[in-house]
């Protein structure tokens, strides 16, 4: 080993029990409250994201069930209009923001370093921060809900109804400030994913060898960096207008209500791709494992992921087709909204071809991944129909769109997520989920979901508008809604079965080894659950399917996981170059640190002060935030950020 100036040659060693113990000592989370609040272990943070997002899923689900009881028949009186309007708005906010992205962040956080052969994410402390802010902003918004001041203008929050004259309570203030707060979590998380993808992959994992799941999260993250500021700005403008009489949206003063719609949907449309593309990636990686072959068309499927998002930046006006915009604009956005079907078709055909040219082994995970293909097609074609302007003028704001959004969100997010839970649960916990209960889980969810939401296309085509707390008799909607409500409850039982399976299997599930599915990617090369340091030595990757190399004809050498650079002077990780993943730097990784937690508390204080107009509290929150940041960013010898640091 030479140590000159800044450099060190990494030692190459074999994995041994002594090395494992040494690495565990270096990397394990400190015990007690300090460790709980200060951990930067991406696996712990990932589990927190999953659990918290699931809790919000259950909350949003309960909100939905109340609505389904109210709508099962005409003229019901379970809830009045004020309560119903908060229910449907809170349901949307909860599912789209507090469940759909964070659940994928949870999987991404846990899996990415393992998939990449890395020890952690690029920014472990920022990783912790993104979780704490997600939790704090979700709690912030739900405090409003609990106070009867939940959002009441839909998740999309159109003005002028969201403005002060029509909405004088705190509902919109909780929502506006809560969303700005939440936006910080998403942005911080996105930065982490982008830089991790660029710099933290194991040597040899060039960009054409990464799992498709990571393409999905990367694409979503780049998009989020570019569009989250748009919605944060919109909510800030609304908040300023409501508190201080600014004029952005109020028509009486020259404000433009449609400006809100542009700002919201320029964010909103890329966002809905951000909440499905990683899940699509999960299917692209998981389905082939059970088909016992690599996916058909890795390159086009990866490109299709990116193409979907790029096109997704250019379609936002399709949410505004009824606004009275000029025909030329409508035609352009209609065309783009129809073309965007093409990359989706690529993935669907690739999966179907993988099934047909593989040898599917039917497991619960496989059932969720395979059924998703059909649900994707149904959700995709209903979306395609709304892309045609004259047809959309009939479909928009009816239950047809509600059917569409649930097929894409439940079909392309939740079903892959549940498949992912069955697939990766053994890796996270060391135990398999019960397979028989899994089959009950799958069929109840699948039948319940389709029973609930397939008829919704019909109630939409029969003209039932959205966002109505009740409807009259004689419209032909009654029986369809009853079927939907029954399906909804059956679907909820299915979700409950998942939770039961998780609880039971945590204790009594069959013990899993490192690779119960004989899967090809790197996370299956470490123990279940993985050690805190992930890899005792840094792997050298030679193909897309490291653990299948002996069975697929590979041209280059063999991926090495049993011997490699050990990087054990402290918590250390290897960064590599962007395209080809050649070794670049030895990074010193941070110890457990409570600054992210403290910063979140400071920001919570600040946002609370803004909410209740206690400006001293807001200022205090701001100052404390700055102080926490300064402490966090203070150059550290241990992280080799100052001259003369040890190597």
């Amino acid at each position: 080993m030479t140590a000159t100036g800044l450099e060190r040659t990494p030692e190459i060693k074999k994995v041994t029990p002594e090395l494992a113990r040494h690495m565990e000592e270096l990397w394990k989370t400190k015990p007690g409250l300090f460790g709980f609040l200060g951990t930067t272990d991406h696996k712990k943070i990932g589990i927190r994201y999953l659990v918290t997002a699931f809790a919000f899923l259950v909350a949003g689900g309960i909100e939905a069930l109340v609505m389904r009881v109210q709508l099962a028949q005409p003229n019901e009186h379970l809830v009045g209009p004020a309560a119903y309007n908060q229910l449907y708005s809170t349901h949307g906010m909860t599912m789209i923001f507090l469940y759909a992205l964070p659940i994928l962040s949870g999987f991404s956080n846990y899996l990415w370093p393992l998939l990449f052969g890395a020890r952690d994410m690029a920014f472990p402390r920022m990783n912790a921060l993104s979780y704490w802010i997600f939790l704090a902003s979700g709690v912030f918004m739900y405090v409003g809900v609990a106070m009867g001041a939940g959002p009441n203008d839909g998740w999309f929050n159109y003005v002028p109804y969201a403005s002060l004259p029509y909405n004088p309570g705190l509902n919109e203030d909780f929502y506006s400030l809560g969303m700005i707060f939440y936006g910080v979590s998403t942005t911080v998380g996105a930065v982490n994913f982008v830089v991790t993808f660029l710099k933290m992959r194991a040597p040899g994992m060039s960009v054409n060898r990464v799992p498709i799941f990571t393409w999905g999260t990367l694409t979503a993250s780049v998009a989020n960096l570019l569009v989250v500021p748009c919605v944060s700005l919109a909510f800030l403008m609304l908040w300023l207008e409501r508190q201080f009489g600014f004029h952005f949206f109020d028509p009486g003063a020259g404000g433009q209500p449609i400006l809100w719609q542009h700002l919201f949907w320029m964010f909103g449309h890329p966002w809905v791709y951000a909440i499905v593309l990683p899940a699509i990636g999960m299917v692209s990686d998981g389905l082939p494992v059970f088909c016992r072959r690599p996916i058909v068309g890795y390159t086009v499927v990866s490109l299709a992921t990116v193409a979907t998002m790029i096109l997704g930046f250019g379609v936002w006006v399709h949410h505004m087709f009824a606004d009275g915009l000029p025909s030329l604009a409508l035609s352009f956005f209609s065309g783009a909204s129809i073309i965007i079907v093409v990359p989706s078709a690529v993935s669907v055909i690739a999966w179907t071809a993988t099934i047909w040219t593989g040898r599917p082994v039917i497991t619960t995970a496989f059932l969720f991944f395979a059924s998703m293909i059909v649900l994707f097609v149904i959700g995709g074609v209903s979306g395609f129909m709304t892309g045609s302007v004259p047809v959309d003028w009939q479909l928009t704001d009816t239950y047809f769109v509600v059917a569409h959004i649930h097929y894409v969100l439940i079909g392309i997010n939740l079903f892959p997520v549940v498949g992912g839970i069955y697939f990766w649960f053994p890796k996270f916990t060391g135990r398999l989920l019960d397979e028989r209960l899994g089959r009950w889980n799958f069929w109840t969810m699948f039948i319940g979901f389709n029973l609930g939401f397939l008829p919704m296309h019909l109630s939409g085509l029969l003209g039932m508008p959205r966002r109505i707390y009740t409807y009259p008799a004689g419209m032909g909607w009654g029986w369809v809604n009853m079927v939907t409500s029954i399906g909804g409850f059956l679907f909820a039982i299915g979700v409950a079965l998942l939770l039961v399976n998780i609880v039971i299997s945590l204790r009594r599930g069959q013990v899993a080894g490192p690779n119960p599915w004989d899967a090809p990617t790197l996370e299956w090369s470490v123990s279940s659950p993985p050690p805190s340091y992930n890899f005792a030595v840094i792997p050298k990757v030679e193909s897309r399917h490291p653990l299948w190399e002996d069975r697929l004809e590979e041209i280059e050498g063999h991926t090495r996981v049993a011997e490699g650079p050990v990087l054990d002077h402290s918590k250390e990780a290897l960064t590599t170059t962007i395209l080809d993943a050649d070794p670049d730097l030895i990074m010193k990784m941070p110890e457990d640190n409570v600054a992210p937690f403290i910063l979140t508390c400071a920001m919570s204080l600040g946002f609370t002060g803004l909410l209740v107009h206690l400006w001293w509290m807001a200022a205090a929150g701001g100052v404390l935030s700055l102080v926490s940041l300064a402490v966090w960013l203070w150059p550290s010898r241990r992280l080799a950020q100052v001259s003369g640091a040890p190597l």
């Binding site: 030479t2 800044l6 450099e7 060190r8 040659t9 990494p10 190459i12 690029a122 920014f123 920022m126 942005t187 996105a190 930065v191 982008v194 660029l198 710099k199 933290m200 040597p203 960096l225 570019l226 500021p229 748009c230 700005l233 800030l236 403008m237 300023l240 207008e241 201080f244 009489g245 600014f246 004029h247 952005f248 020259g254 404000g255 433009q256 400006l259 700002l263 320029m266 840094i538 050298k540 650079p565 290897l574 960064t575 070794p583 670049d584 730097l585 030895i586 010193k588 700055l626 300064a630 960013l633 150059p635 992280l639 080799a640 950020q641 100052v642 001259s643 003369g644 640091a645 190597l647």
Partner: protein, 197 residues
Amino acid sequence: MTEVLAKPLPVGPYDRRGNSWWGVMCLIATEGSLFAYLLFSYYYFDFQLPSSWRPDEHPKFLLSAPDSVILLISSVFVWLGERAIKRGNRAGASLGLFSGAALGIIFILVQFKEWADKHFTPGSSPYGSIYFTTTGFHMAHVTAGVIALLFVGVWNQLGYFDRERHAAIANAAIYWHFVDAVWVTIFFTFYITPYLW
């Protein structure tokens, strides 16, 4: 194939190699988008409303032009400061960083004077709202940049950085240049376009 892995590797970030550089690049992408949307809103009002949406008197250059030059010069100082530390010149680096910060503070003070001289408030009209929100956001970013430059200058004085280890200076510098570049687009939008159409 252990050859690739057996060569010496740098430990820790140095100059611009390291994760934090890419992190600041992502930050610039996201904050740049924010300003893009602010300007989008301005142009949206400009195209939707009659030209009377803007005050009759076009924005003045008397204060704003020199102020812009001050900001651009501050970037030069910061760039010189970064160049100094790359050559191991700690004192030069501090000089550049603190001068940049000082000019940034002057920029902010002149901007406050411009604000005070305006005949409209944020609550007067959409123009007032978008003007103060946009320039206010920019001022907040300048303030953050000044704080960053000051911290980094102090850290430099404490001897933390040398010709290799100065990632914080590189990060603060590129952030400062970004804030500068954003000002050019804001200046063009608010001060120049009223004369163009």
